[in-house]
């Protein structure tokens, strides 16, 4: 009984609103745009930050990434030095051992030594970036296996001539899954392909990991033995010879809580042993926190803009409902004379505003979902419509109806029936 009465009130409300279609539509517009902008802006914001966050998260929130960096002075003075001089910089094997020994909170370290070589498989060749590393590397960077296996500690210990390709590299070399087990020639040496991992494409993150698409991973012991630590780079007629022991070192800390202290300690340690400043330290966790803070700020700004537009929408509804109450004073008088209680008049008007705002909210949701889709389609920007933003919008539009409908409804109910009946 009670339920059917409310349902009938809703139908009556819709009926009444349909009497003034244009006016009702215009009244709804504020909420429509408010809700649409909430959803669209959150979707764009979410989409923009999602990739960045994802990328940073992939680097591992427990990890600290140390990389070698060519010191600035050396770079500028390069052309004046003898063609046979060797510039030495970067992380050393000692750094790794020292870090391990100094900080008890460090669980593992995974070194990376990078050499560029041409790879040949059958008749195809491809310039590869050889990454000499250890078994732990794959666990720390969370690379997905596609076929075969990754490096094992035994490969490193026994200096096995094995290599793991990326999916992209494998495809360029016309290798399929069956490539596992085949021989790949790197420079003058033959290596057995033991596995293929998923490529990590995606630049744009401020952190560079040797995760480029043409990586080939081999045991660091092998890389060191076969290619040594000195690399020759040909630049405009002269050779630059560099000696870099490790290009990168990923340090895994036991626990997220200790990442920042260990990072600070490492920084201190590197500063002492590398006065040239030929290293870089990046902490994904710090970046993550920063990115998340940025996202929060972004959301607050968007939220405020959307909030203001919804407020304006709500005021629009209230304004029209107040006009409607005045216009329908007689009707209110008649209903009261017939025996409607104040509460029932309030319900009637509240239902009308809530129908308006909820309908506006639903249209707003439709538009708000369409806009990000169009942005993605035309501007090729990632957008993510979260279900929480939809729920939020429904909630907000209904509360806008409730809050801004209450006052006009109260005004209507408080009219003196006699005066209301006499109203022209």
């Amino acid at each position: 009984m009670k339920k059917s009465r409310i349902w009938r009130s809703v139908l009556l409300g819709i009926n009444t609103l349909m009497l003034h279609k244009l006016r009702s539509m215009l009244t709804m517009l504020g909420v429509v745009f408010g809700v649409a902008s909430v959803i669209a802006m959150l979707a764009v914001g979410e989409g923009a930050s999602k990739d960045a966050l994802e990328q940073i998260r992939k680097l591992g929130s427990n990890n600290i990434i140390l990389s070698s960096q060519k010191p600035v002075e050396e770079e500028s003075g390069g052309s004046m030095r003898s063609p046979f001089s060797v510039s030495m910089y970067g992380l050393t094997y000692d750094d790794e051992t020292r870090a391990m020994e100094t900080f008890s909170r460090i669980r593992t370290t995974a070194p990376a030594k990078i050499v560029r070589k041409e790879g040949r498989l059958g008749t195809r060749t491809l310039d590869l970036r050889l990454v000499g590393t250890t078994a732990d590397w794959f666990r720390l960077v969370k690379r997905e296996m596609i076929a075969g296996r990754t490096l094992l500690p035994s490969d490193v210990d026994q200096k096995a001539a094995v290599v793991v390709l990326t999916e992209y590299g494998a495809r360029r070399l016309l290798a399929t899954r069956q490539a596992v087990g085949q021989s790949l020639r790197l420079g003058g040496e033959y290596f057995q392909v033991i596995g293929i991992v998923r490529s990590e494409g995606g630049e744009g993150s401020s952190v560079q990991t040797p995760d480029q698409q043409v990586d080939a991973y081999l045991p660091i012991t092998v890389a060191r033995e076969r290619y040594g630590d000195v690399v020759s780079i040909r630049t405009s007629g002269s050779f630059i010879r560099e000696r870099v022991e490790l290009h990168q070192l990923i340090v895994e800390v036991e626990n997220t809580d200790h990442v920042e202290t260990v990072a600070a300690g490492l920084e201190q340690m590197l500063k002492t042993f590398h006065p040239k400043g030929d290293y870089r330290i990046s902490v994904p966790l710090a970046l993550l926190k920063q990115a998340e803070a940025t996202k929060r700020t972004f959301n607050i700004v968007l939220g405020s803009i959307a909030g203001i537009s919804l407020l304006v929408g709500g005021i629009g509804i209230m304004n029209i409902m107040l006009a409607s109450v005045t216009e329908r004073t007689r009707e209110i008088g008649v209903r009261r004379a017939i025996g409607a209680k104040k509460r029932q008049i309030i319900t009637q008007f509240l239902i009308e505003t809530m129908v308006l705002s909820t309908l506006g909210g639903m249209i707003g949701i439709a538009i708000g979902v369409a806009i990000p889709a169009l942005i993605t389609y035309f501007a090729d920007m990632a957008t993510v419509v979260t279900s929480y933003s939809l729920l939020l919008s429904v909630g907000i539009s209904m509360s806008v109806g409730l809050i801004f409908g209450l006052y006009p409804a109260k005004r209507a109910a408080d009219l003196d029936p006699i005066i209301a009946l006499r109203h022209e």
Partner: protein, 249 residues
């Protein structure tokens, strides 16, 4: 101001009192000015009677009808409706009384524009919480009774004034009220239509409805066997079944 027992004289019908006003006053305070719209009224109305309230403009007719209709509370005095003292009830309680015991007919019909004839007639039943099917049926019967059985799905704007007033009468009857209250029911109608409406009210009276009607026009007042003449917020004279009581105060 003393109460004359004569005010309650009533033909020996044996029917109970639906309305009893005792020393009812209504004072409107306008700044420092006091308007005594009702200055002490005593009146008893028995079940099944048909009353006209007459008097010059500003004599307090509408004020009295509003009080009788539980739309307002007296400043002092007592009003018994169906034996209940309703002079001090809360707004909600008055609403409840109107819903259960009263039906209103207005000069300007006051149908709700966005509702159909049927929905207008159903309105009191909606607030009474009737089942939709039952109220549909009741609305159809009432529309039939006032001669508008064919117009159930029309909107008020598609009806003539007389037809609208018939719908209003049907609506006022929907809750089977103890009293039908009408403030100038023919005020907006031409004489032919007025006659038809008054005939309808006459029929309702014949069927036993208690009717109280405010009017300016003596012609209209003749449809009612009883008449209260008001002057300056007081009952000047009462004509009851042809007998006139002068200066009832």
């Amino acid at each position: 101001m003393s109460k004359t027992d004569g005010a309650f004289v009533q033909a020996e019908t044996g029917l109970h009192e639906v309305v009893r006003l005792e020393d009812v006053t209504k004072v409107y305070v306008m700044g420092t000015n006091e308007v005594h719209a009702l200055a002490g009224v005593n009146l008893a109305i028995h079940q099944g009677s048909f009353w006209a309230i007459m008097g010059s403009s500003g004599s307090g007719k509408s004020t009295m009808l509003n009080l009788l209709g539980c739309l307002d509370r007296p400043t002092s005095g007592r009003y018994y409706l169906e034996g209940h003292d309703v002079s001090r009830l809360s707004d909600d309680e008055l609403s409840e009384f109107r819903l259960k015991h009263l039906g209103f007919i207005f000069q300007s019909f006051n149908l709700i524009a966005q509702l159909t004839v049927r929905e207008n007639i159903e309105l009191p039943l909606f607030y009474l919480g009737w089942d939709p099917e039952d109220s549909k049926q009741r609305a159809a019967e009432l529309a039939e009774m006032v001669g508008l059985g064919e117009r159930l799905n029309h909107r008020p704007s598609e009806l003539s004034g007389g037809q609208q007033q018939r719908v209003a009468i049907a609506r006022a009857l929907a809750n089977d009220p103890s009293i039908l209250l009408a403030d100038e029911p023919t005020g907006n109608l031409d004489s032919v239509t007025s006659e038809q409406i008054m005939d309808l009210l006459g029929q309702l009276h014949d069927q036993g409805k208690t009717i109280i009607m405010v009017t300016h026009e003596p012609d209209i007042a003749t449809y009612a066997p009883n008449c209260v003449h008001m002057r300056d917020g007081l009952i000047d004279r009462i004509t009851e079944n042809g007998r006139t009581l002068e200066g009832v105060r």
